[in-house]
Symmetry: C2
Subunit: 337 residues, 2 copies
């Protein structure tokens, strides 16, 4: 491949276990000869006034320029006067949809072996508006904001995704029986988009009922689309069904074709630097990113190598009940390639 | 027992399958010689201007006078100009805490056999404020209201309940990392109450993480207390873990010592009148009510008879995979008494 075929991708190794698991990803991608050049950016040590957070302006510029990024866990430093790193990224890059494919991993036993769904979360508004105030002493309120623009945008993405991935059904999750105006608007937008996709079955499920159905029979669901907070809750619930956040990939889609894949688990400072962390979620997020880049062959190869390594069970990190180090697990994946 | 030992209890049989399952409860309570006289009230056929709903003023007066009630499912009739029946009851009777004990039923197999927890939901405010408006075309907002008074009240109830029932831990569920003011106030109130109960372990769990933990390992939880919408979501999730709303009792606690036990499942119009409905949730709600009345012997006897009937498996209704009618199942419970 000539140099011009290579793709520049922004890499945020993040904090805690971030650098170690990012190292694993780089190693596996190198072994699979993925034509990517990483542009690494670390979180700054002081607040950058241009981002009002510890994220540097340069790192945001890098994602805007490359349009593709991969991100490890970022712990927001404690203190006042700056914004959460994750929320800043969502806002600044207009990451409007958080997409999490969630499927039972062959050979890794949980109470469920029949999960195969994708949650698509509106990522910019709703209960995350940040608008809160005290009305009188002892009475506080938060505003949930739903807009037609953001609802249509995420609904469009969900149906587009369903169609592109050969999925048959989109379920809109809501509580419009209580929040008739906000969730009602969200549903209205989903219905409008649904009409343009007659080949996809569309249904609406109330969030409480959805959670009950998910724990009883997750196979009932295919693609789920929902406002911000419900997405936060349901995507973690679904991750729990298959073993936790250490195993689930995630990708954020932004305006202008930006995609920022990320491991959504924490930075696990207690095991940082000890070669014990599980790089699976970040690696599978990297796979999501490759699919976004239409590098499906590479994506398939890497995904198979990861899943086969886990399924065989000989090399697993401690969180999966094994005793392998990060490097041993990573090497096992490379050997499978 | 003299007539004066008898307790008057308001009974709302409700709609759909409501009357049949209420009949089962009456039969079982009669067999167990529970000293209760039922005062039955049906939902009206037109809006009562004094309640702005299909609930009659007399039925609310009955609960206020008796202070104890049992309620079957109520489907809110479609149409404008009146309020949901369930929400009206909560508002008018100031039912501030919804309490749902949730435990794996011996002999009824689900993916979980280790559930034994109680969800306590704030039932009057939060996301259920009903305050919503359109800001400009395409932009709508809902207000979530949290007050110190309601938060303290439900927290007090949760700790009181935990202590009275020999439970060791109370977990407050929240999203205060995002809704710092509203959920922050809720947590502050929980902390204040926790200080008065040093013998009870207190912890705070973010709702997304809570849902993940619940599906991975529900045995981690004991008593959970939370704002309205999180309670709606989590109590249904927990019901799903043990088999669904057909099996889970619920009791609402109101100001002035009112307790309204209720089956939280729907009115199942498709099987109404066919002698197919499962009365378990309403019966176990009746058991919760008996405990509230300190009739623990009767409560234990009836609960054992229900659980043993289900565990034996010979008589089960269709929703539990059996082929018994409501009357056969009810008779089997009576035979166990
Ligand atoms: C850390 C927190 C602010 C964040 C969220 O609520 O969105 C997290 O739970 C997530 O899902 O990325
Ligand atoms: C029917 C609906 C309004 C109600 C609620 O959201 O509270 C129900 O889900 C419940 O839990 O009782």
């Amino acid at each position: 491949a000539s140099a011009s075929d290579r793709i520049r991708v922004t890499l945020f190794p993040g904090d805690g276990i971030g650098p170690e698991i990012a190292e694993s990803v780089k190693q596996v991608f190198r072994e699979a000869e993925v034509p990517i050049d990483w542009e690494e950016h670390y979180v700054g040590t002081e607040v950058d006034p241009r981002t009002q957070s510890f994220l540097t302006w340069e790192s945001l510029e890098s994602v805007r320029r490359n349009k593709v990024g991969l991100k490890g866990p970022m712990a927001t430093p404690i203190g006042k006067g700056h914004r959460s790193l994750n929320l800043t990224l969502r806002k600044e890059l207009n990451l409007y949809a958080n997409v999490r494919p969630c499927y039972s991993l062959p050979g890794y036993k949980t109470r469920y072996d029949d999960v195969n769904l994708v949650t698509i979360r509106e990522n910019t508004e709703g209960e995350y508006s940040g608008l809160e105030h005290q009305v009188v002493r002892g009475v506080v309120e938060s505003l949930k904001i739903i807009t037609r623009q953001a609802s249509l945008r995420v609904a469009e993405y969900a149906f587009h995704y369903a169609k592109a991935h050969g999925r048959e059904r989109v379920s809109a999750i809501h509580k419009a029986n209580i929040m008739q105006k906000t969730d009602g608007l969200f549903l209205k937008c989903c219905r409008e988009v649904a009409e343009k996709y007659p080949e996809i079955t569309y249904e609406e499920v109330v969030i409480d009922n959805c959670c009950m159905m998910l724990v009883k029979n997750p196979a009932l669901f295919d693609v789920l689309v929902m406002p911000n907070l419900y997405g936060d809750i349901i995507s973690d619930l679904c991750a729990g069904l298959i073993g936790g956040l250490g195993l689930t990939p995630s990708c954020n889609i932004g305006e202008g074709g930006i995609a920022l894949a990320e491991a959504v688990h924490g930075s696990a400072p207690d095991i940082a630097g000890k070669n014990l962390a599980n790089p699976t979620a970040l690696m599978l997020s990297g796979v999501s990113m490759l699919r976004h880049l239409d590098l499906h062959d590479k994506a398939d190869r890497i995904q198979d190598a990861i899943l086969n390594t886990i399924a065989e069970g000989k090399y697993r990190t401690a969180d999966l009940g094994g005793s392998s180090t990060t490097s041993e697990f990573t090497k096992a994946i490379c050997d499978h390639l």
